[in-house]
Amino acid sequence: MVDLAAGEFGTVTGLGVEAGLRHRLAALGIKPGQVVKVLRRGWWSGPIHLRVGMTELMLRRVDAARIEIRAGDPSHLSP
């Protein structure tokens, strides 16, 4: 996910994180199959601002790097 540029979409394919964070991410809407959109990337390698379904989140790049994604333009925005 960390490689997506601002304005790009991607579909989550896998979460390489420990169980605690995986539960948290799932509850915030980040789970396999979900479409995400990167809204902006913070300055100085700062966090990523993204939208998942109806929720906006910030996520550090180091954590985003552990979320596997298939980049691409989705045909639908809604979950």
Binding site: H49, E56, L77
Partner: protein, 617 residues
């Protein structure tokens, strides 16, 4: 009636139904709780602020109900402390009804929590809050369809605008009538039940959403989008934020300082014209103890309450509007390099008003390393109490233009000390905590909401600070007035001896015995430093006489050294107390105090000795 209880300490009253409120952070759960109970629950736009459980008794259509506000959680199977608290609660307490509260506009992900509660087989009721936002964002929910699929009653409400609350009360009462009170049982095999059904969760959630909810084809929150374009701007975002903060502090001082003065006058008039005549028959020592010790000390701190109230009011507006989460976003990159995160920055910022609530705010952090490191840097935030001292001393020793530069320099040093501390100790308090924060849409806080919250914060502060401050004030007064018969704070008094005793340590940084006593006063609270100087020099601060007396004895180099020390050493006993209770570690508390003293002494020493070498006197 509201009070806190332990996570597993609720004892059911016979004939009284127990209703637990469960919901995700950021859904207005605490707002709903306080609307239903008229209780003062704390609410915030920051995930996970509610830590202690709140409970309140209420009467619903003739039935006595015990309503318990459980901490906001994301996931019943989650690994956070709050999530464990909720699990423990449900496993240990018989609950007659679970009220699930979700953010209607984010039902696409939050429905999950409702499904988990249903898996536990508990009687439940679903409230979809923030109906106004769901409408604004174009989320359409077919309540009947959803209720049929979930097999639970579902209501759409807006707790903030008090819509649908009467229906919600009625629905709770109806559900309780359907079940016999006391029939509720603690959940058995909670983890196993949830784990068993986890695989089906995603599928049933998707089919329910498909059947009952329509989402907008396009993201509709144009307001948030437009505001974020500026407020999160890569170049302008941070400067804009600092301008907003500067204006906010300006407003707080412009309004608060006169209020503080007025309240101080009222209290001193009361002490002079009402209390003194009443105590005229008391022995002089005891009378002085009550008037110059107890009342003066408590009065000084009470006079400070309006500023605290205003501070929380302003902070509440910034926080509930959603802007604070943006500050965390803007500053995270910098803070990450200090071993901290965006939230630590926001809390340090709150510390510029008062360190105490800022340290309380570290509760949102899970990793203890991150929490402790944040607690270590927050006391370096130049709080309003220290600013009072600096404004006075700068005006005595410097021309107005220089004075402004001195104050500005002290602010820079305050940031510098925090950054240095974080860099030095980030290895000792390492944290691997991932930072995933919601950036809620911008919201307009309502006036009753922020007023109620600021009031609750002030009450809370006063409640626990009181005892501590009384203790400190009493000991300082005794130091100044014992042994019996000495002139207060003179060289013969205990504090005078203390001043002399500390000379070998403080003379190298230019602090004379009299200033030492003021610093001892300042250990209790910086609010007392000015008053302390006034007592020591026997002059009042307001008439300008104190300034003359000081300037005749102390050089500007000594004055700056005194200010540097005042900025960096322990802010006040209240801060120490809250570090102790929040860290639950005496060792860490002592370390924090010791480090601030070492840093204060070293900085003052370097400045004073260098100034001496250069020939400044």
């Amino acid at each position: 009636m509201t009070h806190c209880l332990d996570s597993a300490g609720l004892i059911p009253v016979p004939g009284q139904a127990t209703v637990a409120v469960v919901g995700m952070p950021n859904t207005g759960k605490s707002t709903l709780f306080s609307q239903l109970t008229s209780a003062h629950a704390h609410i915030g736009n920051w995930p996970g602020l509610t830590v202690d459980l709140m409970q309140a008794e209420l009467n619903l259509e003739g039935r006595s109900v015990q309503l318990v506000d459980l901490p906001g959680i994301y996931d019943l199977r989650g690994h956070s402390e709050d999530e464990a608290v909720v699990r423990r609660f449900l496993e240990s307490t018989p609950v007659d009804l679970v009220v699930i509260i979700l953010n209607a506009s984010q039902i696409d992900r939050q429905l999950r929590l409702a499904l988990q509660v249903r898996q536990l087989g508990l009687p439940a009721l679903l409230l979809l809050n923030m109906a106004d936002e769901a409408r604004r964002f174009g989320v359409g929910i077919d309540l009947d369809q959803l209720a049929r699929h979930l097999e639970l009653p579902v209501l759409l409400i807006s707790a903030k605008y008090r819509q649908g609350l009467a229906q919600a009360r009625h629905a709770i009462a109806t559900e309780l009538t359907a079940a016999e009170p006391g029939e509720g049982r603690p959940v058995r095999d909670l983890e196993a039940r949830l784990a068993a059904a986890d695989d089906d969760l995603a599928g049933s959630m998707a089919s329910m959403l498909e059947a009952a909810v329509t989402f907008p084809a396009q993201w509709r929150d144009g307001l948030t989008r437009r505001l974020d374009r500026w407020l999160l701007h890569p170049v302008l975002g941070l400067p804009l934020f600092f301008v907003v903060m500067a204006l906010m502090f300006q407003a707080i001082y412009a309004l608060g300082v006169p209020m503080q003065g007025a309240l101080g006058t009222v209290i001193s008039n009361f002490s002079q014209h009402v209390l003194s005549p009443l105590l005229v028959s008391w022995p002089p020592f005891l009378r002085a103890f009550v008037i110059d010790g107890l009342v003066l000390g408590i009065g000084t701190v009470s006079a400070f309450l309006p500023v605290i109230f205003l501070f929380f009011l302003a902070m509440g507006v910034v926080e509930d509007s959603g802007y604070l989460s943006r500050a965390a976003f803007l500053m995270d990159a910098f803070m990450e390099r200090l071993g901290l995160d965006g939230r630590s920055f926001v809390l340090s910022l709150m510390g510029f008003g008062c360190n105490v609530p800022a340290i309380l705010g570290t509760r949102v952090m899970r990793s203890s390393g991150l929490r402790l490191l944040s607690m270590l840097i927050i006391p370096f935030s130049l709080c309003s109490a220290r600013l009072n001292v600096f404004l006075f001393m700068a005006s005595v020793f410097f021309a107005p233009r220089q004075a402004a530069l001195v104050i500005f320099g002290l602010y820079l040093l305050s940031f510098g000390a925090a950054i240095l501390t974080a860099l030095l100790f980030k290895g000792r308090f390492a944290s691997e905590e991932a930072l995933v924060l919601e950036l809620p849409p911008y919201r307009l806080p309502t006036i009753p909401q922020v007023l109620r919250r600021a009031w609750a914060e002030v009450r809370h502060f006063w409640f626990w600070a009181r005892r501590f401050i009384i203790f400190g004030v009493v000991s300082i007064w005794l130091l100044n007035n014992l042994p019996l018969g000495v002139a207060p704070a003179s060289a013969q008094s205990l504090s005078g001896h203390l001043g002399e005793l500390l000379q070998p340590l403080l003379a190298p940084i230019g602090i004379n015995p009299r200033l030492t006593v003021a610093l001892v006063f300042g250990f209790i609270a910086k609010e007392i430093v000015l008053g302390g100087l006034a007592v020591i020099y026997g002059q009042t601060a307001s008439s300008g006489a104190l300034g003359h007396a000081l300037a005749s004895e102390v050089s500007w180099v000594q004055a700056v050294s005194f200010m540097l020390f005042t900025l960096l050493y322990t802010p006040c006993l209240s801060t120490v107390a809250v570090i102790r209770t929040e860290s639950k570690q005496l060792g860490f508390t002592l370390f924090s105090v010791l480090w601030s003293l070492i840093l204060a002494w070293s900085v003052s020493f370097c400045f004073y000795q260098l100034a001496w070498l250069v020939g400044w006197r």
